[in-house]
Amino acid sequence: MTEQTALPDAPGTGGAGAKPDAAVVRDALGVGVAVGLSGFAFGVTSAGSGLTLAQTCALSLLVFTGASQFALVGALAAGGNPLTAAAGAFFLGVRNAFYGLRLSQLLALPRAVRPFAAQWVIDETTAVALAQPTRRGVRIGFTVTGLTLYVLWNLTTLLGALGAEAIGDTDAWGLDAAGPAVFLALLAPMLKNTTERAVAALAVLLGLGLLPVLPAGVPVLVAALAAPLVLWARGRRAGDTEDGAVRGAAEGRDER
């Protein structure tokens, strides 16, 4: 491939200063196992919402993006029209396209491999991959997280759906807090500078403020506008000072 990226290709065994492969694998397994186990909460919720075992498992196998799956079963349980429910889940899934944009730079996969890698383009694999300093690390992180998570998420979905009856009220067990805790843990390392924090804060305001007035799934998409809005605001402010362009360029290089 001729793709140019800012990422260095680490030499085979990882050069001096590079993160050891074992450390990348450990991080990836940590995320894969923890999030994979939370498929249990999805299985229980889905079965509790009236979906059959086959439907519940099909969602985890084929959709494989947790927030969309939860949104779909929630909307179906609330008696929503199937297409409206699917639209809400789809809107939530659109964020994965943006992750893909980023990952395709970092992974630099051959075109033939991309359709197979695509199913694993989700919050967690992106977060782990983005945290790695080298292309080798990115690829290991993405693959190990993707594989662990896919296998465990589907296994625990099945167990959760089978055990839904026995568990009773999942909320009483606090399992509904697992989802946001996972998202928070993925988000935290991304909040390195004021731009990122401003984007996160504005996104929270938009996501919560619009929730009561827009259809399910749409507020999150509108919240994505926080990124261009903050960039635009910073661009304007930087334009007011003479060294704005220089500063912007320096920061651009800082980004991986």
């Binding site: 940590g30 923890a34 439907q55 099909a58 084929l62 959709v63 993006t65 927030a67 969309s68 929630g74 609330a78 199937p82 297409l83 699917a86 889940a89 789809f90 939530l92 659109v94 396209a97 943006f98 992750y99 893909g100 980023r102 990952l103 395709s104 730079q105 996969l109 075109r111 991309r114 359709p115 695509a118 199913q119 992106t126 983005l130 909320d171 009483a172 606090g174 509904d176 807090a177 697992a178 946001p180 805790a181 998202f183 843990a185 988000l187 935290a188 990122e196 984007v199 996160a200 996104a203 919560l208 009561p212 507020p219 999150v220 919240a223 994505a224 926080a226 990124a227 960039l231 980004e255």
Partner: protein, 102 residues
């Protein structure tokens, strides 16, 4: 049957957008603005999702035991706890607050 239709539409749609992101030509991503946006969009989306899953019930905003659980997760993160422990803190504290009638 209608549930299967919803599952099918969601599965096809979600896979399509994942693939779309990977297939966008690399040249389109070389511009600094696009690179910065691609880095910041996940921040915005994750932040909005975290907030909604913590403070929303359907289309209503509400403050319940989940907020305490997620706050516990935030503290665990600040203490550099491992991932599993962060999630466990959220679940245990949420269940604990509910058990106490919160």
């Amino acid at each position: 049957m209608s549930v299967w239709i919803a599952i099918g539409v969601t599965a096809v749609g979600c896979y399509a957008v994942k693939l779309l992101g990977l297939l966008v030509p690399a040249g389109a991503l070389e511009r600094p603005l696009v690179r910065r946006l691609a880095a910041l969009l996940p921040v915005a989306l994750l932040a909005a999702l975290t907030a909604q899953q913590t403070f929303a019930d359907g289309q209503r905003l509400m403050l319940d035991a989940r907020a305490a659980g997620v706050a516990a997760a935030a503290v665990a993160l600040l203490l550099r706890a491992p991932f599993l422990l962060v999630v466990a803190a959220a679940v245990v504290v949420t269940a604990g607050v509910r058990a106490m009638g919160g």
